[in-house]
Amino acid sequence: MKDIPAIRAAQGAPRLRDFHQARWDEPVIFELSAEGERGVLVPETEPGIERAVGDVAASLPRSVLRAAPPALPEISQNRVLRHYLRLSQENLGADLNVDVGQGTCTMKYSPKVNDVLARSPKLAELHPLQDEETVQGILEVMYRFEGFLKALSGLDAFSLQPGAGSAAVYANASIIRAYHASRGEADQRREIITTVFSHPSNAACAKTAGFDIVTLHPDADGYPDWKALQAAVSERTAGLMITNPEDTGIFNPRIREFVDAVHEVGGLCAYDQANANGILGITRAKEAGFDLCHFNLHKTFSTPHGCGGPAGAAIGVTRKLARFLPVPVVTFDGRRYHLDYDRPDSIGKIRPWYGVAPVILRAYAWVRSLGPDGLREVARVAVLNNNYLLKKMLEIRGVSAPYAKGRRRIEQVRYSWADLTRETGVHSEDLGLRAADFGVHYWTSHHPWIVQEPCTLEPTESYSKADLDEYAAIIRHVAEEARRDPETVKTAPHRSTVHRNDPSPMDDPRQWAITWRAYRRKLRETAGSGRRKA
């Protein structure tokens, strides 16, 4: 009889998994089509209706009718299901891996009970225009949740309307624009100041809202450059839009001075709280003097990321800016909840209706499951996990944590593999693709890569010490392999669902194909031109 636990222990502690991701070799859905198969049926019209109205489609003007049926595939129900279940298995998902490798995105555990609650027909089957008396439950959830966010930020009024973080950044930029316009300064205040280690959307969304962007680079220690900020502020300044801690995990201790300097020239300050997870209940927008802020519900507040949404966000403002919030806002008269549309100074609509209700409900339930002490514990353990992983990472040869040497980090760390790349020619991206062979995700970082060969790790509060040890062991193994056997790393992944893409079609208009029909057409055209040449 073999002592399997002893054998596994001898294979290393922590032992690297003998992992292979699901590989179904699944066709594109059109290849599953079989003539006449049906996936679901539509109710047939009752004879009484037929008798009363006849064939309505035939009576419509020919110009509005579809000439030929859409060339959709014909697939029976279980075959459609199987296709998508196989594709789901070919997707790692946060529930399945120690998902610390998508730093800045706060990949934390999304509690299952909150999914169950969000799928209740009591929410799923609500129409947004129902009479207020029939939706008091969800309005109460929204109103109370706004109250939690007021406590966590210290700001005075919230809207839950934006569909995700970037939409919230845009909404805040739009409020800044409306504020200056209300003072007759819209033409003068053209500039939004941000930092290069704030999320790219602070620059992109403010630009979309019509502003010119001034980007501050860090000082030698990696903190936002105070001198640069002083040089940037002027009567042209509309506002400051930044994260803190920044995407490096470094907290700007002079943030109050930054905010004061912008206020001094008449600008507003918006706090992108995408990185709020490590500071919940520790420090708030109010104490730093911010006028606006936003939270990502799919990050800090645990709602699932859904392959990139549906997500949710909340924007908060001080009292003087409340009149600009999107319409409607949820109000409470002491007895009943209402939707207030009568807000003439509002920026208007950011999205249909009132926000992504199932996401808001999950976020509400998450806060309720933690309470005031639990929320602070989230932050404290997230920061502990991050600094523990930092210690483990820095024990690996070839990696560094640029800037603020010897200082602690808050919610994530931006690492650099520049030394390893110089030594081995293996890039950060290669390391990530090789890490996938051991069942974990790893991402480089947002551009521009001011930190060379970057990766950003954010362990949140959701991972145990053993999880973090395992993740660090995988990264150590891959880094050592880069020295020993760089080809294996450079040609990874080897045990993932598929192998390295040919990237050449992706930037070539003659070859790129964003739909199956475009792909088939371009194949025909290529074959045709080949024949003509022959």
Binding site: T208, G306, R407, I514
Partner: protein, 465 residues
């Protein structure tokens, strides 16, 4: 509470004391407080968060939240005729099963390898939508139809280098509000009329408003007021004559029977995916699509991710990745096109599954069934003294305007009477359109049986009597 505070929280493994102490020892810190060394005392929040105590056990939490939800009365417990941009359709169980899969639900931004399933299922989605729309390029979904429309118009302005768009007056006030806010920095928004009798785009009004500065003409099929334009060709041609683009918003659930906008000259087609397999969820089921022809001048103006198909290092293997990534804000920050970020990808996967389940036959039957039921409803309502349905003479699909103005009763009053009978009447248009006082927009789909529609008609008849 004392016991609870010393207990590890189930969502926080390292709230267990042993792990915490071991980790603190390893990093040489006395407590977590030491780790906040960069946060000055003046910025510290020293109060207690004004948040209720934890419901840390699952049964307590469920009881509380389910208690709140119990205060709602849903469309499953009532008979609903509200639409106006959020439509009650049948949601196949398979759609719910797929989007509840943890691998999809909890994934985010993996690489084309560890997240191959996400890339392929969104390529499937874009390909299925491409067939429905008769277009070669479809984006990874944006937030909702409002955003798709606003972005479609900004794309048109960039493509043409012009700074004015003409928007049909037959759009919702909310969507117009979104368009105005989103286009405000650089693009003027002008409106053109709809015909008061047919509800179709008014070509004379369009001709009058259009000029060489027009970047785009935007209209919808069906319009917000439910009318299917029969003159789509003419509207598009009018736009093209001055070098403008035709941007059309379409309800994808209509396209089994109705012509896709590309067939009447649309250059950019936009809309919302909610009808294709998403629950209404109090407005949480929205996702936006944008579709165009496969020309670089269009493709390079999308802000969204676009997933393309390619080969891999293994013969016969499909790979998927980002097309023209360098146009995005992920690559270029403020130098990219608008912005890209988390939006509504899971609803794209779901809409793909929905289209695969329905297939060509299902989409046609869906359209036919809806047409018959909505027309039956209109016919029944029209028999009620004082009620005019449909208000407009143009063709309609699932929605139509009901005019109660000659009943002598306000929409509010009629709808209150319906509510007492467990019926949610359609959207009141009285304050939204000056010309539609006393009118409401009713939505009828495949979920409504003949019995439901007769019940509605009987209830309205009583309410207006």
């Amino acid at each position: 509470m004392g016991k609870r505070r010393s207990t590890a929280h189930p969502y926080i493994p390292n709230s267990a004391r042993a792990a915490k102490e071991a980790m603190l020892r390893e990093i040489g810190a006395a407590s977590e407080d030491d780790l906040y060394e960069d946060i000055p005392e003046a910025l510290r929040f020293r109060g207690r968060l004004a948040i209720p105590e934890a419901l840390a056990s699952e049964p307590e939490l469920r009881r509380h939240v389910e208690g709140l939800l119990a205060k709602n009365r849903s469309c499953a417990e009532s008979l609903n005729f509200l639409g106006a941009g959020c439509t009650q359709h049948f949601v196949p169980a398979v759609c719910d099963e797929i989007n509840a899969r943890a691998e999809f639900l909890t994934a985010y931004a993996g690489e084309p390898y560890d997240d191959h399933g996400r890339f392929q299922s969104l390529f499937d989605y874009a390909s299925l939508m491409g067939e429905l729309l008769n277009m070669d390029v479809v984006n990874v979904p944006t937030y909702d139809g409002f955003q798709a429309t606003a972005t479609g118009l900004r794309m048109a302005a960039r493509i043409t280098g012009r700074s004015e768009v003409l928007v049909s007056r037959a759009v919702s006030a909310d969507k117009l509000s979104k368009i105005r806010d989103y286009l405000r920095p650089r693009i003027r928004v002008q409106l053109f009329d709809f015909d008061p009798v047919t509800g179709e785009p008014d070509l004379a009004s369009l001709e009058e408003a259009i000029s060489n500065e027009t970047a785009a003409v935007y209209f919808e099929s069906p319009s917000y007021l439910g009318v299917i334009p029969s003159c789509g060709d003419d509207v598009s041609a009018t736009a093209h004559d001055v070098g403008a683009l035709s941007v059309v918003g379409v309800d994808p659930s209509t396209l089994g029977v109705l012509a896709p906008p590309a067939d009447y000259g649309a250059d950019i087609v936009v809309g919302d995916l909610q009808p294709l397999g998403m629950h209404m969820a109090y407005g949480g089921g929205h996702a936006g699509f944008i579709a165009t022809r496969d020309e670089p001048r269009f493709v390079l103006e999308y802000p969204s991710r676009l997933f393309g198909i390619t080969s891999t290092s293994v013969e016969g293997e499909y790979g998927f990745g980002d097309v023209a990534f360098e146009r995005t804000s992920f690559a270029l920050r403020e130098g990219g096109k608008e912005w890209v970020g988390t939006a509504a990808a899971l609803w794209g996967i779901t809409a793909g599954a929905y289209l695969a389940l329905l297939g060509p036959q299902g989409m046609r039957e869906l359209g036919e069934t809806i047409l018959q039921r909505s027309h039956y409803a209109a016919k029944r309502l029209a028999r009620i003294p004082g009620v005019r349905a449909p208000r407009f003479r143009g063709a309609f699909f699932h929605e139509f305007v009901v005019d109660f103005s000659r009943t002598g009763k306000s929409v509010t009053r009629i709808h209150r009477a319906l509510l007492r009978r467990g019926i949610f009447g359609g959207k009141d248009l009285s304050s939204e359109f000056a010309s539609l006082k006393g009118c409401a927009l009713y939505s009828v789909t495949e979920v409504h049986t003949k019995g439901d529609l007769d019940r509605l008609a009987d209830a309205i008849e009583e309410a207006v009597a």
